[in-house]
């Protein structure tokens, strides 16, 4: 009789523990991205102020800031905060090889990307705006002149823009790095 009670007790504890374990696991997985203390944005933030272009060190054994970087690809980023107004992003794409701009929210989602194939006159250019800023811009648009800007709507106020440039050979890495260093990010006045 006693043994039977013991077994029931242990089963009850095991069942309760399994329920709690499941709950803990689900909650943990869901809240980890909200804390975001290890993510790319948190790692990039101490490197410099908003809107400043900062080159990433070439991926190598001693460079341990961002994992899964490509040693063949130079990168530079700028952080943005759209509360200061729409963000004008310009990156030269005049090398023969691959170059791209990608737009990341503070939470690590990519909301847009363009490659050098979309470049006009050797330049990748975009205007990052919030929904409200887009509306304000559209209201001011002249109906007769077509909009020149590539306007990218961001749901997040904060994020970062990353420019990548591939070097075709090790000796060409410095020129790829020069290309990404020429990335510029500037806040424009909010249209009203």
């Amino acid at each position: 009789m006693n043994i039977r009670r013991r077994v029931i007790d242990i089963l009850a504890i095991a069942f309760g523990a399994a329920m709690i374990a499941t709950l803990v696991h689900i909650v943990a997985i869901l809240i980890i991205p909200l804390y975001a203390t290890h993510d790319a944005f948190a790692r990039l933030s101490p490197l410099g102020p908003i809107n400043a272009t900062i080159a990433l060190a070439q991926s190598g054994p001693r460079e341990r800031l961002i994992p899964f970087g490509d040693p063949a690809v130079a990168g530079a980023f700028c952080r943005f905060d759209l509360r200061a107004g729409p963000l004008r992003v310009k990156g030269p794409a005049n090398l023969a090889s691959f170059a791209s701009l990608s737009f990341h929210t503070r939470r690590g989602s990519i909301f847009y990307a363009i490659t050098d194939k979309a470049a006009t006159r050797g330049m990748l250019e975009a205007l990052v705006v919030t929904e409200d800023q887009l509306r304000a811009l559209a209201a001011k648009d002249d109906e007769d002149t077509p909009v020149q800007d590539l306007r990218i709507v961001s749901n997040a106020k904060e994020g970062f823009v990353l420019m990548r440039a591939l070097s075709e050979e090790p000796s060409l890495y410095p020129s790829a790095e020069n290309a990404v260093r020429a990335l510029t990010c500037a806040s424009e006045p909010i249209p009203n």
């Binding site: 309760g16 980890i32 994992p67 490509d70 040693p71 990608s102 989602s109 990548r164 591939l166 075709e168």
Partner: protein, 192 residues
């Protein structure tokens, strides 16, 4: 009183198991939407707004900056073609084709995704610099001892992984449908 103790035991066990399961699932860093093709794993939704919670949490913890779909795709292999884990005491031949892309790079990283130091300071190959056979195919020798041709050194005794990146690839949107034969084979040659 008795019930309270049992509930407490269940809570403690549940908490420990739940957190352990969470840590384990993040270390494997493989979300629901990751596809496995031969030895290679690819997550086309990594970094997008549609990424599943596991992919998001793993991305937050690793701090990597994923490629946008428009930029390219990243494949990771932690095993050879037979499914055996890549071992630093073995030599592998990797080749001969990749899915279509404007450029690709193939590099070797440690468990955390960083290049491994080696005397040759060779961390990967670019499609634009690799030595090819008469048919345009390539073979990369992955081994700790020097090898003629395209030699990718295994610099340490730790676990390692191979990373294949396709830049500007038409297969981006249909990564999961890539044929196994289109990706480089990873064949174990010999072991110490």
């Amino acid at each position: 009183m008795d019930t309270l103790i049992k509930a407490l035991i269940a809570c403690v066990i549940g908490l420990v198991v739940g957190l352990w399961a969470t840590a384990l699932s993040l270390r494997n860093a493989r979300g629901f939407d990751a596809a496995t093709i031969g030895a290679w794993t690819v997550s086309e939704k990594a970094g997008t707004l549609e990424a599943d919670p596991y992919t998001r949490a793993a991305l937050e913890q690793s701090g990597e900056i994923p490629l946008a779909l428009g930029e390219g795709l990243q494949f990771i292999a932690r095993t050879d073609d037979t499914g055996a884990a890549l071992s630093p005491s073995c030599a592998y031949l990797v080749g001969r084709t990749t899915p279509p892309a404007r450029y690709w790079t193939l590099s070797l990283v440690d468990r955390l995704g960083f290049p491994v130091a080696n005397a040759a300071a060779r961390y990967g190959f670019r499609s634009s610099e690799i030595q090819r056979g008469a048919d345009g195919g390539f073979i990369i020798a992955v081994s700790s001892s020097p090898h003629s041709g395209n030699w990718l050194p295994i610099g340490s005794k730790g676990r390692f992984a191979l990373v294949l990146r396709l830049y500007d690839s038409p297969v981006s949107a249909t990564a999961a449908a890539i044929d196994k034969d289109a990706l480089p084979r990873i064949v174990r040659e010999s072991c110490l």
